[in-house]
Structures are given as C-alpha cells and as structure tokens.
C-alpha cells in the first residue's frame, strides 16, 4: 500500500497526489511514469509523474478524471492509500544542451512536460514553453512552468484566458518570427501531438512526443502498448514513451486506444450509477471516458 501524503485539485477534474514511494522517488527522471492499481479488482493504468522528492521519499502524480479508474483515484484524499504503484517506468527524456527548446504541454500533458522542461533548463537550454488548455480553469502548473521557462505562452481553446487558439498557433508564430528552434518536446492529447509533428516536419525541427497507448505491465512483457514507429512495432513502455514525432503513426495510436471503448463506457456508466445511488440527489455530470492513455 502506498500512502497519499497530500492530495489537491489543480483544476476541475485534475488532481495532484503526493505519494510515499521512496524507491521510485530516488530514481525518477523526467519523462518517466508509474503504473498504479487502486484496489484488488482494479485495472493497471499508467500515470504521469510530475515531480519527486528523493529526500522526503515522495513522488507527485497528476491525474485527470476520464474513466472509472481515474474518477475513483480522484476521489481519494490525504491519508488514503493506493494498493500498487510501480515505476519509474519508461526511458527518461534525453536531456542535453540543444540550444533553444520549445516545450509544449497540452492539458494534463503539461504535468508530464514540466519535469522535462526543468531538466532542459538546468542543462543550459533556452526554454520556451507553450501551455494549452480547453479553458481558463484547466490551465495547470502555470507558475511552475513560468519559473523554468525563458518565456511562457498560454492558449485556451475558448479564449477564456490568455490567447484564444491552440498551442500549434503559438509554435507556428515562433517559427514565422524566425526563432531558431533546436528541439520541440510536446506532451498532450494525440491530436495535438500529431498537429505539432506535422508542423515541425515541414520545418525540419527535431520533435519528441510522449505517447500514451494502452498498457498493462509497463515492463515490456505484454506488448499491448506497441506503437508503429517508421512502420515497425515498438513498445512505448520500454522503447519509449518518448519517440521522434516524425516517425510516429498517430492514426494507429488513435485506432488502438479505441480498442476497449465499449468496455470503458460500460465501466464508467456503472460507476456513475453507483455514485448517483450512493449520493442520491447529487447530480453527476456525464463525462465521456477518454479511452486508453495516460491519466
């Protein structure tokens, strides 16, 4: 059992947990993730590590409620426990002195991009960050990202905060302004990462994305997380999760993440009905489950 030391909402539906996991805290590096399971009948889901404190022996994870498991997770609070937390998994981000790096975080993906931005800044890069969210409320880690960035740009889809538009608009502007960009790191929804990849491919800018396929063990054993890279199967858990964006087949990623959509809807509906009957009178917003993917 892994104890939750602290839990707080960063935005509606997006919660940060500080978890006691000394072994993981000691070894966590930017770009890595954990897999967790809440209870005996639960599924294993990959979750972003936002930060860690090796002295306190804690890791921070950030979870967006999407399906049953993430909703259940976000109902946990300080003092509760998580049955299994395993990691840190995946290859760490490749941190080097590249020059100017643009770090793009879309939605909850910002939590995954943040530790990489920190490490890139420490390695002496000029870090330009772009954070995008659907609306003002869903912008997360703004002050943290600002603190590690030479410049921070924010977009909201509906214009309720900062600039209306998408992260790709900001990246396109940077390119059009003649900013020399040596590397783009993008973490967020698949559509966003795909759009970034298409944009930078034309400009020949090396781009790294962090992929979020369906996963079970996270150690290479099951092969469920395979993604098509240059037409060949690679495993996101051991060969990734970061890949050269220009080699990724995003269509196949979308297709494979839809594999259990029916089951996910069923789980979510049953969960909502259960919650509704538990707290009768409490209206429960219908949330469309996001299939697969890292929470």
């Amino acid at each position: 059992m892994f104890k939750i030391i602290h839990a707080e909402f960063l935005a509606p539906g997006i919660k940060r947990f500080v978890i006691e996991a000394p072994r993981i805290a000691r070894r966590q590096k930017p770009g890595q993730f954990v897999i967790l399971r809440i209870y005996e009948e639960g599924e294993r889901i990959p979750v972003t590590i936002e930060n860690s404190d090796s002295e306190r022996g804690t890791i921070n994870i950030v979870v967006q409620a999407a399906g049953k498991t993430t909703h259940l997770l976000n109902s946990l609070n300080t003092g509760d426990g998580i049955l299994d937390v395993v990691g840190p998994l995946g290859k760490p981000s490749e941190i080097a002195h590249y020059g100017t790096v643009v770090v793009v975080g879309g939605g909850v993906g910002t939590a995954m991009a943040y530790p990489t931005a920190v490490a890139l800044k420490r390695a002496g890069n000029r870090v330009l960050s772009i954070v995008g969210a659907r609306n003002k409320e869903l912008v997360i880690l703004e002050s943290e990202m600002r603190a590690v960035s030479d410049a921070l740009m924010i977009t909201t889809d509906d214009g309720s905060y900062a600039d209306k538009g998408f992260v790709t608009d900001k990246l396109r502007q940077l390119i059009q302004n003649g900013t020399r960009i040596d590397l783009v790191v993008a973490v967020g929804p698949i559509v966003m990462m795909k759009a970034i990849a298409e944009l930078t491919r034309k400009e020949n800018i090396h781009t790294v994305v962090s992929l979020n396929p369906i996963m079970i063990d996270g150690t290479g054993m099951c092969g469920g997380c395979r993604v098509l890279i240059d037409g060949k199967s690679e495993f996101a858990c051991v060969d990734g999760p970061e890949f050269d964006a220009h080699r990724v087949n995003f269509e196949v990623l979308v297709q494979r993440n839809a594999m259990y959509r029916d089951a996910e809807r069923q789980s979510m509906t049953e969960y909502q009905q259960h919650e509704a009957s538990r707290s009768a009178g409490h209206a429960c917003a219908a949330v469309e489950p996001i299939p697969g993917g890292r929470a």
Partner: protein, 482 residues
C-alpha cells in the same frame, strides 16, 4: 538399469508390473470444461495413486531422476506412496523440488522423467507427474508439512523475479540459512505461473499455497519492484547489503511476425491476451475493471504451437469463441507443446490448422481485424533448430475470417536489467550470459537463470537452473570464492 533385487514393499511381483495399466487421470468431461476455467485434471485418489505407484520397476539406476532437471528422487518417493506414507513422499520430493504441486501439473514429463521410464519401452510410462501432484495435494489437504530448521548464515540474497526459477532459488537458499528477499515487478507473485498459465491448468490457489509455504520458511517478498528501474542490481548489493543476486526475470518481450496488419485491433500478443485473463481477470469484467474484447461467437486463432499457444486458444474457447484455431507452420510431430495439452485441446474441439502460416492480417475501415490471409506449408530440410523447415506451397493462399488473432511465436530478451547493470555480459540475442553449471554471470556475486538466460523454455528447466544457481550461490556465500 535392470530391476533391482532389493527387498521391495511392493506387493506386485516385478514381472507382473507391466501388466498393470497406467491409471487414467480423472478429468472434467471435455464438453463441460470447454466452458469453464476450472481445472481439467481432477487428480488421483489415494487408491489410484497406490495402484499407479505399484507399476514402478524400481530400477537400480533410475533414469527418471537422471532426466529430471531438478533431480527429484522418483523411485524413493514412489516407494513411499506404495508404502502408503504420502506425507513422507511429499517431503522426499521437497528435498529437490520446492514446487511439486506446480511441476506435477505443468512439467512436460514426457521430455524428462517419464520419457526415459523403463516401462515406456513396452507399455506406458509410470505416471510420475500425476503421482507428484497427488502427494503435493495430499500434503496440502492434510495441512501438515514439516518446516526445516536451520541456523542463520548471516548472508542476504536478493532474487529478481518470482517465477519458477526465482522461487526455486529462494526455497533452496532459505533452507541453507540465508536471508532471502524476492523482488517482483508485477503486483502479484508467481511470474509466468500467474500471468501466463491459465486457471484450468494451474489453479492460482495452488501457487498461493506454495507461496504461503515459502513465507512460512522465512522467504520475504516485495511486489511492485522493477529491478533495473525501481532499483538497480548495484544498489541492491552496495546500498541494501545483498551478498548475492539471482536474476530470474523470465522470457521478456513478445515477438511478432512482422507481417502486414499486426497492429490492427484484435491482434494480441499471447502475453497480453493471457495477462488480461489470468493476472487481471478480464474474463470477469465488469466485476474486475480490466477489459478484453468480447469473444462470444467470434472466430479466434492463435499462431504458434507451444504451450502458450494452447493456453491462449483454450482460454478463448472458454470465453465463448465460436471457432478456435491453432495455426502452426509445422506439423504435429514438431509441436513443442506438452503432449497432454494437445490431447486435451483436441478433445475440447480446438481446430488445428497444421502446416499453415498467416502472411497478412486484413481489417475493416476502422482498423478491426476481419481476416487472416494464410498460406499452406510443406516441410523441407532441417533448419538450425534441427526441425524440418516449413516452406510455403505456391498457390496455396486462402483467407480465414477472424475477429481475434493471438500471436504466440515466442519472446525476445527483456533489456531492462541488462541495460542498467554495467559489466553484465549478454549474448548477441541480448540474453544474460551465465555458466551452464554454476549460473554465474560476468559480475561477481550475480547469478542468472531461466528464460532470461536460455530464451523461452519450460517451468521445469527454469527450476533446474534455479536449483543449480542455489547450489552455486551457497558455495559462493560459504567460501567467498568467485
């Protein structure tokens, strides 16, 4: 190898023993078990066990033991069954095999003990596996086993992986007085016994009982530790004070065929398919959260001819598959699966498409598998494995409608431990190099065995490696010599 003249407790005269037929294993009827996950074999009764045990010829030089990877003293434990002392028989097996209830069920006896049984020259071999299973189960039912007592050595050993080889190392070393801690990457202990082998062949309760027994002996277990990621081999030795480490991380990454369409929805690796069912209990969805594709009324095929392939397709059948095919590119004779599993699978109605291989998967517009394009094969000259190489027959292509295809053609080395342990020698396929007898690696104090050294093999071969490693680790801890 002639039958011994030593005074025997066996009431059946040697000359009559070949006349006693091999006692059949009681099993769940095929038509019934094809729809449930309960165990196929039901086990001998004490009467059946004694009758079967009386068939033993009591050879002076028992080839059964020589051919057992862990060296179980077959003749001696079988004599104890004849004498009716089943608990002593169990204890006798445990001297060499810490997991008898498991090996009694999943070991390919025809390749080892029973394969060289003197009886098999004329009649069917002694049912050694069935007898082993019987005494292990009997011991459990009686709830009495004798815990060995031993003085602590003051040495600590870390075992990486809780599969059959790691558990064997742990069980052997704890009996030598060493402190043993087993690290497991998954949330449940048992490795392939838990995520790979289905309930109908090896009930999970059996594994839990074996693990309880090991805990009683003092073995410590820690789950959710991926050695190489959560902690490295060097940290285990330098910071956590382990005097020796055994690496038994198992088979590793599932291989794919690299044919077009393997990324379509509905194409699984056998590891994923079986992990969803066995470890995650996806067949109990929605009571368990992990989903899997609904197989009811679907056409399902497994590609491959090993035990994993049969476990997968027999699971699919139990989950409601309308058609359940084994597609294997060689013929019956080359199938690596355990003979009893092939027999059981045929009884259950599995359709074996031998000398056949898929060349492409086809899907609908949304990427869901609909068809495997296959080709028939014929056997040519022997290849590197010594088996005749399958060669595609011109013009033999045909289409097989399928909703789910499970690829069970083997695995390749998992790189996590090797890539995070400087100086650990590997071969060109990425497996850890270890001495065949001592299981020593290129790193002082580090031993390895099982599939991470040999590539995919069997439970008993992994246990054999564990046995040799435990002996060699004990020597190293005692002498300090490398």
């Amino acid at each position: 190898m002639s039958p011994t003249a030593k005074k025997s407790l066996n009431p059946v005269p040697i000359k009559d023993r070949m006349k006693v037929p091999r006692q059949l294993m009681p099993e769940q009827p095929a038509e019934q078990r094809a729809h449930n996950f309960e165990e196929v074999n039901l086990g001998y009764s004490p009467e059946l066990a004694r009758q079967e045990a009386q068939r033993c010829l009591e050879c002076a030089k028992p080839t059964c033991t020589d051919n057992c990877p862990v060296g179980v003293k077959v003749k001696e434990f079988v004599e104890l069954i004849v004498a009716g002392d089943f608990l002593a028989a169990a204890a006798k097996i445990r001297e060499d095999n810490v997991l008898p209830a498991i090996t009694g069920r999943v070991c390919p006896q025809e390749d080892h003990c029973e394969g060289k049984c003197l009886l098999s020259k004329k009649v069917k071999p002694l049912g050694i596996g069935y007898l082993e299973r019987f005494v292990a189960d009997y011991e459990k039912r009686m709830g009495s086993h004798v815990l060995p007592t031993v003085a602590p050595s003051g040495k600590k050993v870390a075992v990486v992986g809780s599969g059959p080889s790691g558990l064997t190392v742990a069980g052997d070393l704890i009996q030598k007085g060493h402190k043993v801690r087993v690290f497991e990457a998954l949330h449940e202990l048992g490795g392939v016994l838990v995520y790979g082998i289905p309930e109908f062949r090896l009930p999970k309760q059996i594994i839990r009982e074996q693990l309880d027994y090991m805990r009683e002996m003092g073995v410590e277990f820690e789950t959710d530790v991926v050695v190489g990621r959560t902690i490295t081999i060097d940290e285990l030795m330098e910071e956590e004070g382990y005097d020796a480490v055994y690496i038994g991380t198992g088979a590793g990454l599932p291989q794919f065929m690299n044919i077009p369409g393997e990324h379509f929805n509905g194409v699984y690796s056998a590891n994923e398919f079986l992990t969803r069912i066995n470890l995650m209990k996806a067949y109990k969805f929605p009571a368990y959260d992990e989903p899997m594709l609904d197989l009811h009324g679907k056409d399902v095929a497994v590609i491959g001819g090993g035990n994993t392939a049969l476990d997968a397709i027999r699971s699919a059948l139990r989950l409601g598959a309308a058609k359940a095919y084994v597609i294997y590119r060689r013929s019956d004779a080359e199938m690596p699966a355990r003979a009893e599993e092939v027999h059981h699978a045929r009884q259950e109605g599995i359709d074996f498409q031998m000398l056949t291989a898929p060349v492409e998967f086809l899907a609908d517009s949304k990427g869901w598998l609909t068809t495997a394009r296959c080709v028939r094969m014929e056997l040519g000259e022997p290849d590197a494995s010594g088996r005749r190489r399958p060669v595609p027959m011109a013009g033999s292509e045909f289409e097989l409608p399928l909703s789910v295809a499970v690829i069970a053609i083997g695995t390749s080395a998992n790189p996590i431990v090797q890539s995070t342990t400087p100086g650990l020698g590997t071969n060109k396929r990425g497996y850890i190099q270890a001495d065949e007898n001592s299981q020593r690696t290129s790193r002082k104090g580090v031993f390895a065995g099982g599939d991470i050294v040999t590539g995919s093999a069997t439970v008993i071969l992994a246990m054999g490696a564990g046995r040799r490693a435990a002996k060699s680790i004990h020597e190293y801890l005692t002498t300090g010599e490398w």
